[in-house]
């Protein structure tokens, strides 16, 4: 993923309920993939991290997997 996924797909608001999208940015342990590897812009990476944390709180995504 070299280009910003969110601007490429025209996603303006990163929603915590979009688990299928957020899962792309988790590694097999359930950690958030670093900005360096995702290729997402810094602004969107911050929003992405927040969305993932909200999803984790509501049990949609794991804090730790495996």
């Amino acid at each position: 993923m070299k280009q910003d996924y969110f601007s490429a797909n025209n996603i303006k608001y990163i929603d915590y309920k979009d688990v299928s999208i957020l899962k792309k940015f988790l590694n097999p342990n359930g950690k958030i993939v670093s900005h360096k590897r995702t290729g997402v812009t810094s602004k969107n990476q911050r929003k992405l991290a927040l969305a993932i944390k909200h999803a984790r709180f509501l049990g949609l995504l794991p804090f730790v997997a495996r």
Binding site: N9, I11, Y13, D15, Y16, K17, I21, L58, G59, L60
Partner: protein, 172 residues
């Protein structure tokens, strides 16, 4: 008189401006899985009523659906610990005054049927995009069609003959 009218207009426009993004909230919640399938719609209805009693206007929502939680959650109901691995997840998006949201939170804190909830500021537009974009995941490759291949084969021999003739002419 005119001044009054102007003031009213200003007030209206101010209201509209306020009514856009800063007042849009969303509450996501998990309901206790011990509820039966028939009970969830009534609780969902009660929640919507609760929001409307605080002057909220619902924009969009989703009915609670049974999901498997990513990890087990604990909740204490009447001094008894409960562990939950599943729950009903639903959400409601609504307009509300910022002061009222705190009151809503306090009310929801006391609700015994809610395992957890999350109140967020959000935008009015639909924010779920996954269904539209999943299909485009694989990059498209241009595969040559059959028609193009046949054309290429037909053209090649003709070109060779012509080139041969040209070469012969050049040599001669």
């Amino acid at each position: 008189m005119q001044e009054k009218e102007n003031k009213e207009e200003n007030y209206l426009s101010f209201e509209e401006a306020e009514g856009t993004d800063p007042r849009v909230y969303e509450v996501g919640y998990l309901l206790v899985p011990t509820l039966s399938e028939e009970e969830t719609p009534t609780i969902y209805g009660n929640l919507k009523e609760l929001i409307s009693t605080f002057g909220g206007q619902s924009i969009s929502d989703e009915m609670p659906v049974m999901i498997n939680l990513a990890y087990s959650m604990q909740k204490v109901i009447q001094n008894v610990h409960h562990n939950y691995d599943t729950a009903y997840f639903g959400w409601i998006k609504f307009f509300m005054d910022p002061e009222k949201v705190l009151e809503l939170k306090k009310k929801m804190d006391l609700d015994p049927t809610i395992v957890r909830f999350l109140i967020l500021k959000t935008v009015k537009e639909n924010t779920i995009a996954s269904k539209r974009f999943i299909q485009r995941e694989v990059p498209r490759r241009k595969t040559p069609t059959l028609g193009e291949k046949e054309e290429g084969k037909e053209e090649a021999p003709i070109n060779k003959e012509e080139i041969d003739k040209e070469i012969d002419a050049m040599v001669a």
